[in-house]
């Protein structure tokens, strides 16, 4: 590679990362700004974080959002696992195309459309909207993501291992649970985290699906943001960013640790591109 090429690659990387991270870094810095104004640095202060602790409404919404994310991610991961098993293992069952299409549609459908469909459904059934309908909305939104994540892992998984277990006397469900499941566990964890963050973050579906008493954190942030930039929102945002950063850091550490543990196996069977 020429020096000019290396220089251009470095520039592309720098521009890309600055574009991606500058707004986030600035937001974080601003949350510690004593001044209300974006343009004035009034000194370092944690007063906006202290103010958060006294904001009952915001804390209540944060609890609702966390609870909804925990419950809906759990259900969505289970449903996604079942759906992925069916799609990967059951062959061409009748109405497979319908199932496949309906599962993937929310991936590309505008959230507004899914939201208004759910709202009309709840209204038509006369169901009162609240926490339960919120969870239903989030499961419906996120289960397509969990299905896709788990399905990819199941397709990559070498079935001969499972067949070996069955040759040794395991029943098919036993072989699946004891051989395949541990192997696809990282994908299941990823799916859960994905569903959790999507639910925690969702504004559109929540606005349609929830009711009074179950206002989520993004809905509160949204209504505040419409009034302009506010230091308290900077502080909430920074906390949410930190939460995700810690989760991602943990996930990276776990995968690094797993890779380290498996490295002896890798050396025994070098991948084709490593051998060349």
């Amino acid at each position: 590679m020429s020096a000019a090429g290396a220089w251009a690659r470095g520039a592309a990387l720098s521009i890309g990362f600055v574009f991606l991270y500058a707004p986030i870094v600035i937001l974080t810095v601003m949350s510690f700004n004593a001044s209300r104004l974006v343009s004035v640095w009034g000194g370092f202060s944690t007063k906006w974080y202290v103010a958060l602790l006294e904001n009952e409404q915001l804390l209540h919404s944060a609890k609702i959002s966390l609870a909804a994310a925990l419950v809906s991610a759990t259900i969505a991961t289970l449903l996604g696992l079942f759906a992925a098993i069916a799609l990967a293992r059951f062959g061409g069952f009748r109405t497979r195309m319908l199932f496949f299409g309906a599962l993937h549609a929310p991936l590309v459908l505008p959230e507004v459309v899914l939201g208004l469909a759910l709202l009309s459904c709840f209204v038509a059934l006369g169901v009162g909207r609240g926490f339960v309908t919120l969870v239903i909305g989030h499961v419906t939104l996120t289960m397509c993501f969990t299905t896709v994540a788990i399905l990819a892992a199941l397709r990559d998984f070498d079935r001969t291992l499972e067949e070996a277990a069955m040759d040794l006397g395991a029943t098919p469900p036993e072989a699946f649970v004891r051989v395949a499941l541990p192997q696809i566990a990282p994908a299941i964890v990823t799916a859960y985290l994905l569903a959790f963050t999507l639910s925690l973050d969702d504004l559109v579906i929540a606005s349609f699906a929830t009711g009074p008493g179950a206002t989520t954190l993004p809905m509160r942030i949204y209504s505040q943001v419409r009034l302009g930039v506010s230091p308290q929102i900077n502080a909430v945002s920074t906390l949410l960013l930190a939460l995700v950063a810690v989760a991602l850091g943990l996930a990276a550490a776990v995968s690094w640790w797993r890779a380290g543990r498996n490295s002896s196996v890798k050396i025994a069977t070098p991948a084709p591109d490593e051998a060349s």
């Binding site: 890309g16 343009s39 507004v112 299905t147």
Partner: protein, 304 residues
């Protein structure tokens, strides 16, 4: 994959659980929207006329069938608000997709050509913001783009401009917001396509006397086209129906269909027209996707 076979009871149960969920909370609501889109608007709650129920006798069903109407669809085409917002949604999404491609391609290329042990770190760092809140990432841009925001301040301090540029609450701000929030959708497929390319192909091209520009235009770019198409679709389709970005970064003149639908449902209560607009949007977005899927399947069959 094995062909059609009889499923055991356990397998049926396993399939039934996610299937029922999807049928109850996705398929049925979507059918309901289609149904509302052909009913008459009434001032009631729910604000549309019921169509038919199974308990109705044949004559009652016939009466209600008479009440079905395509008025909502007619309204959609005669109301310039809808037509204009569809067109402007498509335009904003298209421009955003193009800009994202221009930003993401060199970025993806640089990551794909980085030393192999650094690639996972780089791609991880590039995707990490995607895991953080969408709302917060859009919100972060307000502080940058406002009249008294950081970009204007910096430009004025440097003496580049004397008065603040109006950036916030413009279509340009919406495009920046969409590019920023959907960049990983574009980046990942392009990176995947570039990373797969065999480096020896480029060496061969260089050995045969191709300049770096020729190698790029005749080798790297054509081989990455699949990633470019996938990334563009993954970004364009959700961007058309985007609500949060135009609502927070655009002004009231920035018409996007997602926003119109939101307002129709929450403030105007004209559910039949909004439902018709939703159905039209789904059709509009699904057609290119189905065409792409069919072309891909054909290509796969051709490759076999």
């Amino acid at each position: 994959m094995s062909g059609r076979r009889r499923l055991s009871l356990g397998e049926r149960l396993l399939l039934a659980i996610p299937y029922l969920w999807i049928a109850a909370f996705f398929l049925a609501p979507m059918l309901l929207v289609a149904k509302i889109s052909v009913s008459q608007s009434v001032l009631a709650r729910p604000p549309y006329r019921p169509i038919f129920e199974f308990s109705d006798g044949p004559s009652a069903i016939w009466d209600k069938m008479q009440a079905l109407t395509l008025d909502s669809y007619r309204a959609l085409f005669s109301d310039t608000l809808y037509v204009e917002s569809y067109l402007s949604s498509l335009a904003i999404a298209a421009v955003s997709t193009l800009i994202a491609l221009i930003v993401a391609y060199p970025f993806a290329l640089a990551i794909a050509r980085a030393p192999e042990r650094l690639r996972p770190l780089f791609i991880g760092l590039a995707v990490a913001p995607f895991w953080t809140s969408f709302l917060i990432r859009v919100y972060a841009w307000i502080a940058l783009l406002k009249d008294e925001g950081l970009i204007n301040n910096a430009l004025m301090a440097l003496g580049v401009i004397s008065a603040p540029l109006q950036m916030y609450a413009t279509p340009g701000a919406v495009i920046v917001g969409i590019v920023y929030s959907y960049l990983p959708f574009m980046l990942l497929p392009i990176y995947a396509a570039l990373e797969r390319q065999d480096p020896s192909l480029r060496e061969a091209a260089a050995d045969l006397g191709a300049s770096p520009a020729q190698t790029f235009l005749r080798l790297t770019w054509p081989l990455s086209r699949e990633g470019v198409v996938a990334g563009s679709l993954l970004m364009f389709i959700p961007a058309v129906g985007e609500f949060v970005v135009p609502d927070l970064l655009g002004d009231s003149e920035t018409l996007m269909i997602g926003r119109i639908l939101w307002n129709d449902f929450f403030s105007n209560h004209d559910w039949p027209t909004a439902s018709a607009a939703a159905v039209a949007l789904v059709v509009l977005l699904m057609v290119p996707l189905l065409l792409w899927e069919r072309a891909r399947l054909k290509e796969e069959e051709g490759a076999r």
